[in-house]
């Protein structure tokens, strides 16, 4: 049971708050011999797997470490470029660690506004007027719970499939938003929420929720 992340969207579909609670690390380590049988490219200053998916190393994964030492962008700890290092036969066999890249803030904003469009489409698909849109979305690895307030703010919580009582949690997060964002004179509507007290209380609520769901399980 886990709560992965929380998103808050403004009424115009912009991401105004995002919090990752539990993140799952996907990392694969493998020793390679020369020549390297997967194709790597450089993208956004990271080494990305482009071709040759195998043994849990998927396309889109990024190279995290070489021979146990962390990468710094596209260069090794000692400043040497990775591409040059991997092209040199004398460096083999080499141990490479790949992992799934975390979503960047930009990605999250992009996905959130994308989801918002789907939500609007869902509302239009409804044969009956005033549909609530997407409240719940189920996949094999996660569940997404949504809650739209009367003023158009949308709260999304991504959880593990067996997480219970998320509706209650959504209401609690709404309460926190009403308390610590709206009653804060330094918060302006529709803008990203940067309030210490909001964040600390949100963390508290999430921890309580997880504790209570452990107890009832």
């Amino acid at each position: 049971m886990a709560i992965y992340s929380i998103y808050i969207l403004s009424k115009s579909g912009g991401l105004i708050y995002q919090y990752d609670h539990t993140s799952i690390k996907v990392e694969v380590e493998k020793t390679f011999s020369y020549p390297l049988d997967i194709q790597l490219t450089e993208k956004n200053k990271r080494i990305v797997v482009a071709y040759g998916q195998k043994d849990g190393i998927n396309i889109g994964h990024i190279l995290l470490a070489v021979n146990g030492s962390q990468l710094n962008g596209t260069s090794l700890g000692d400043g040497q470029e990775v591409t040059a290092f991997l092209a040199n036969e004398s460096n083999y066999p080499v141990n490479l660690k790949f992992g799934r890249p975390k979503l960047s803030t930009n990605d999250k904003m992009f996905l959130a506004s994308g989801f918002y469009s789907f939500y609007l489409i869902a509302r239009q698909l409804s044969p009956v007027l005033a549909s609530s849109g997407i409240e719940f979305l189920e996949a094999d690895t996660f569940k997404l719970h949504g809650f739209q307030t009367l003023t158009g703010i949308q709260f999304l919580i991504v959880t593990e499939p067996n997480q219970m009582n998320v509706e209650h949690l959504l209401r609690r997060v709404y309460e926190l938003y009403a308390d610590f964002a709206l009653k804060n004179p330094f918060y302006s509507l529709e803008m990203p929420i940067r309030c210490e007290k909001f964040e600390s209380n949100l963390r508290l609520v999430l921890e309580q929720q997880e504790e209570s769901s452990v107890n009832t399980a």
């Binding site: 709206l182 804060n184 007290k197």
Partner: protein
């Protein structure tokens, strides 16, 4: 008949305490608006604090009269320590529903007193952004204290600081300390 009718006016009724609780949410939203109102009219943090303090002083002046009549049978405090205790307990209780946490006397300066509040009610929902530095919206409460002290003829400057929660630094005028020492002799 006419005298009977007169008795029912609001002025003839005793000033009862009544149910004097208001919604915390209502207060918090109002206070948030006050801060935003002030913020739109000033350009710097010290100015904002001064403006909030000004608002607080208006509250303090009115609270003093009301509480003296309600709780003290019309008798005003004349001793320094007494009025500080009056603020710490009576005023704070009627305004915020609880007493302030601590009252301290500065070690190095006999003009200065500290009133300490761990969790200030006015700051309950407020997160101050980093660029605002050491702004404390409890400057409003500091203004209340200042209003009460000044109208009770204890001229003082009161400021709010972030220290052990919120600390109100009360700096009395020289004349107050002198007068209090004279009173002590009697």
């Amino acid at each position: 008949m006419s005298s009977l009718k007169l008795k029912t006016t609001i002025l003839d009724r005793s000033i009862s305490k009544g149910k004097n609780e208001v919604s915390l949410n209502g207060f918090a939203l109002l206070f948030s608006e006050i801060v935003q109102y002030c913020q739109n009219r000033v350009s710097t943090v010290p100015e904002l604090q001064a403006k909030l303090s000004e608002f607080g002083q208006q509250v303090g002046i009115r609270m003093l009269d009301l509480l003296i009549v309600r709780e003290k049978n019309g008798k005003r405090e004349i001793k320094l320590l007494q009025i500080l205790i009056f603020i710490k307990s009576t005023v704070w209780k009627s305004l915020f529903g609880k007493e302030a946490d601590k009252l301290e006397h500065a070690n190095d300066d006999d003009h200065t007193y500290y009133l300490i509040e761990k969790e200030s009610l006015v700051n309950k929902f407020i997160s101050v952004p980093k660029d605002k530095g050491n702004l404390n919206c409890a400057a409003f409460s500091a203004g209340i204290i200042e209003g009460i002290l000044n109208t009770s003829n204890f001229p003082a400057k009161v400021t709010a600081h972030w220290h052990k929660g919120t600390t109100y630094m009360i700096k009395f005028d020289e004349s107050v300390i002198l007068r209090d020492k004279q009173l002590e002799g009697r």
